[in-house]
Symmetry: C2
Amino acid sequence: MDGRIGDISPPGRLAEPTEGIGMAELALAARNHGLPLEALRYDVTPPGLHYVLIHYDIPTAPADDWWLTVSGRVRAPLMLDLATLRSLPAVTHRVTMECAGNGRARLAPRPVSQPWLVEAVGTAEWTGVPLRVLLAEAGVEPGSEPAAVEVVFTGADHGVERGVEQDYQRSLPLAVAAGDDPEVLVAYAMNGLPLPPQHGHPLRLVVPGWYGMAHVKWLREITVTDRPFTGFQQEVAYRYRQRADDPGRPVTRIAPRALMIPPGFPDFMSRARVVRPGRVLLEGRAWSGHGPVIGVEVSTDDDRTWHAAALAPADEHPWAWRRWQASWSATPGTHVLSARATDAEGNTQPLSQPWNRGGFANNLVQRVPVLCLGDD
Amino acid sequence: MDGRIGDISPPGRLAEPTEGIGMAELALAARNHGLPLEALRYDVTPPGLHYVLIHYDIPTAPADDWWLTVSGRVRAPLMLDLATLRSLPAVTHRVTMECAGNGRARLAPRPVSQPWLVEAVGTAEWTGVPLRVLLAEAGVEPGSEPAAVEVVFTGADHGVERGVEQDYQRSLPLAVAAGDDPEVLVAYAMNGLPLPPQHGHPLRLVVPGWYGMAHVKWLREITVTDRPFTGFQQEVAYRYRQRADDPGRPVTRIAPRALMIPPGFPDFMSRARVVRPGRVLLEGRAWSGHGPVIGVEVSTDDDRTWHAAALAPADEHPWAWRRWQASWSATPGTHVLSARATDAEGNTQPLSQPWNRGGFANNLVQRVPVLCLGDD
């Protein structure tokens, strides 16, 4: 009996209305992980708490035998080892990264894939070489003919997805890849240490403001092209589609989101929150890939009324989340708390789900049910 | 309307036969995480890949204002800060830790709780002070009257579970707590660095050979008692029961388990494995909390025949997992691979599920379906 790859690589689908999370979704949830929401307390997410999504397996990737090539529509192809990259002038950027599928498992109908609720986010200090420096070194010239239009990034993780065997690949428009605000990084350190295996050791791309799928891990090839890249992750996955036959729009920058540290203490099984009557400090983080967050509103009455939260002053980290705080006077009974971010471009979070077939960018406001105990 | 804690803290229950993983189980799976199985390749699990189970929230636990007390049936109560603990003679032990609930989500019926498949394991180098040194310093005397019989450990994580509000607490028999083989540690470092928040920063217990529930995190109180501890985590949770009214037996040491690094490459969604025809190296790790693993057998024909795998030589880490390898000649078609560990006490892994109502210690052999492609 011959084996065919299609036998084990199902097409994309939507869950039936009453279908619970299945074993395949659970297997993804057990290996990938989100940020425990109480870890929103840290400006920079400690190691191991930053969200992780691995498309295939973490590859074996020895730092002492790793080469990064820069080729395609360039005048001088490059082949760089880690020591060479580390000898170039380094920059460090604090970047909030979020998975494009964050919020997927709350959608109805639910696209069957990695089942994130709201927690696929994290913030790190990434150190590396600006990509524009490498592109300039390779002699990428926007004016040459035929013109360079995109840059394709190839990682070392290998697998199959909807029948297509592939190394993970994504592209960026040349203007984004070579831009200086924000600067795209070829990063070799996270929070001052070599990248951990699950974050792309020894090299990854960091694209401030873009969803995680753009930040190619285990990076080994950079290819400048004179036509748009049509690989699986660009043209099939990671598009906003309403129907399977809809060509869709590409998923790019992060939609605004505020998350609250769930107040009080939790029930183990339901994760429902318990507080005692009196003043409760509500706090959390907010971010957007379209520009700075300029406002966070909080509701403590199930989205009926909204009040402005206090935002931490703008700092030197425009691509990292911003802290916010509000005070709540808790009274006995059940309450639903929520927070909603608005960015400088006027994007805000919806109160009804922004559904699409891939389950991308569901930035529906977070709802945190809280039980306030009666006075004893 | 007054709030009552029972309203949001459900009793334990079993899932209905057709009930998929629910949103509460998914919320646990999204914040806790297992070891991606390809990370079985590392002798010591890199930061962020070791399994994590947090009962409630990660507490705010400042290392510079943390006190550990040793009190109860002692002659000289102690109150120690981190600097004092670090000034005592330190030891480092390599320990494989596994969640008692590992395998729970594969049970039928499925106990509703943290839904682990097989991946709730990891190995780390833990550094700290032997607990027996602290107990001796506090003057715990086995011969005193009334005799000290148990040691209770209290962590700083606070929550509610099946209606019981609690700080996380567990006990050990005095003979285990004060033992020197294995040595129980009050650990302040993991893999040479301060404990990460999710692993108990700044202090945790490490109990080589025992399931994870014994390794109390965010440790702040050690209390020597003259009677058995009857707290929730000891007498209600973490017991092997067949029925809700069964008093059960306590969950203690880790049952043997072998895990295989799934060979080849995966499908993104199904995590099914694909290999090409020819020789495939099968490898993984095996461990037991009852004593050294002395044998691993591998089956490549759906558990019909078993062959001995090659075990790495015994080393200086008796409480850490042991590497094993076997060779497989893959032929086109579908196959089911499995591995089975046996320890020095003769414990081995069952081929049918060892069901109990809490879903503990399900060490049913792992089954890895693999598709071998036809020759192109």
